[in-house]
């Protein structure tokens, strides 16, 4: 297991970005860039990360970034990879697409699906703050049930797309889930992804202080609750083999899991969540872990 001292000391984000105080995406990006290193090209669709990257003339990272329209992240990465192959540089440079949940599960799903189906050698990282935060908190296909957004004032009805499963169904060599609150696990997953050829997908839950309604100082703790309640299991699927990550392993035991209400009640977006919806969450978590247990047993 990687330790804090194993991470490169070098920072690839220059301080003084436009990200909100306590933004977990900023932490995710900072850790990911440490894992990816300087031989990396990033492509980013319209998102909070566009904002972090800065405005005209001046940017905030020590790696190059290509901004691209909302629907095109997967295609943009494909284009960079194709050009690097054309130039014979494909083995020297990591191509990484970094998109928010809207740019991944909604408007970006088609070009992402196409890019992985073609076997493009790249990493697609989704930082999932569970709504269109950059445009002012509108619901997305990744917003969980019962959550307030400006377009679901009474809480979202419907489901949260399970994007990691959708990508797994593409049969790609690497799929992982991660979260900002476990940065060492996150770092290791990017390192693992870099070492594998072909399409890699990492879905990272990214707590958002203004969008979820909590104090910025609690960004790490909120994310930890998502893992500790069993809502957000951390795992990898490497060449089809399911591996439950160390930080999630003990939560296979339902008794070790914290009540989901600890997670929900800590966020203002779930202020008006009903008992029925809480029950839905409990059922969802139970079913999710039953499936995980089965997968582990079968392997």
């Amino acid at each position: 297991m990687v330790k804090t001292m194993d991470l490169p000391e070098e920072e690839y984000i220059l301080p003084g970005t436009r990200a909100c105080a306590g933004c977990s995406m900023a932490l995710i990006y900072r850790i990911a860039l440490k894992a990816l290193g300087p031989n990396t090209i990033i492509t980013v669709p319209a998102s909070c990360l566009t904002v972090l990257h800065g405005m005209q003339g001046f940017c905030t990272t020590k790696v190059s970034v290509l901004h691209t329209p909302f629907a095109t992240t997967g295609a943009s990465a494909s284009g960079i990879v194709a050009s690097l192959e054309d130039k014979g540089l494909a083995d020297e440079i990591n191509v990484v697409a970094f998109a928010g949940d809207g740019g991944t599960v909604d408007i970006g799903i088609q070009s992402l699906s196409g890019a992985v189906e073609r076997g493009t050698n790249f990493i697609f990282a989704c930082y999932d703050n569970e709504a269109y935060m950059n445009t002012g908190v509108q619901r997305s296909g990744s917003t969980p049930p019962g959550a307030f957004s400006t377009t679901t004032p009474n809480g979202k009805t419907g489901y949260k797309k399970n994007m990691a499963k959708i990508l797994e169904a593409h049969g790609i060599p690497y799929v992982a889930t991660a979260i900002s609150s476990y940065p060492l696990d996150l770092y290791q997953k990017f390192r693992n992804a870099v070492e594998i050829k072909g399409p890699k997908y990492i879905h990272i839950l990214a707590p958002c202080p203004p969008g979820w309604g909590y104090n910025p100082k609690d960004s790490i703790e909120i994310g930890r609750l998502a893992v500790q309640t069993g809502f957000w299991p951390l795992y990898e699927v490497i060449e089809g083999k399911f591996i439950l990550s160390k930080d999630s392993q003990k939560f296979i035991d339902p008794a070790k899991r914290k009540p989901i209400t600890d997670y929900l009640k800590a966020q203002k977006r779930f202020k008006s969540i009903s008992d029925k919806e809480i029950k839905q969450y409990q059922n969802y978590i139970e079913a999710q872990w039953n499936e995980i247990e089965k997968r582990i047993k079968n392997e």
Binding site: T4, I13, L14, P15, A19, A21, S24, L27
Partner: protein, 99 residues
């Protein structure tokens, strides 16, 4: 400076170069800043590179992984994550004026 009228041929795609403080001195966003009590700080006490949770969890890359850890208050947005993640409660959020 580019004279747009004469040198428009130099204005092609919009390109950025890296700078520190792209959004300005983000330290001014908050008056509360993390102050480390070095008597409690684990790496300072042990003299060995250890813990560094403040460095690890900082979303802004304003903490150094040094003994003692240093925080760049000119750019620290004062989110308070380091205070929460310090296992020995060595960090307190205090009023610091940033100009």
């Amino acid at each position: 400076m580019v004279d747009a009228k004469k040198d428009f041929q130099k204005i092609l795609g919009s390109v950025q170069k890296p700078v520190k403080g792209e959004a300005g001195k983000t330290g001014t966003w908050s008056s509360k800043k993390p102050i480390i009590d070095l008597e409690k700080c684990i790496p300072v006490k042990s003299g060995k590179p250890s813990c560094f949770n403040c460095w690890l969890y900082c979303p802004e890359a304003v903490v150094t992984r040094t003994i003692p850890p240093k925080i760049d208050l000119e750019y620290c947005k004062g989110c308070g994550i380091c205070q929460m993640e310090c296992p020995v409660k060595a960090i307190s959020m205090e009023e610091v004026k940033i100009e």
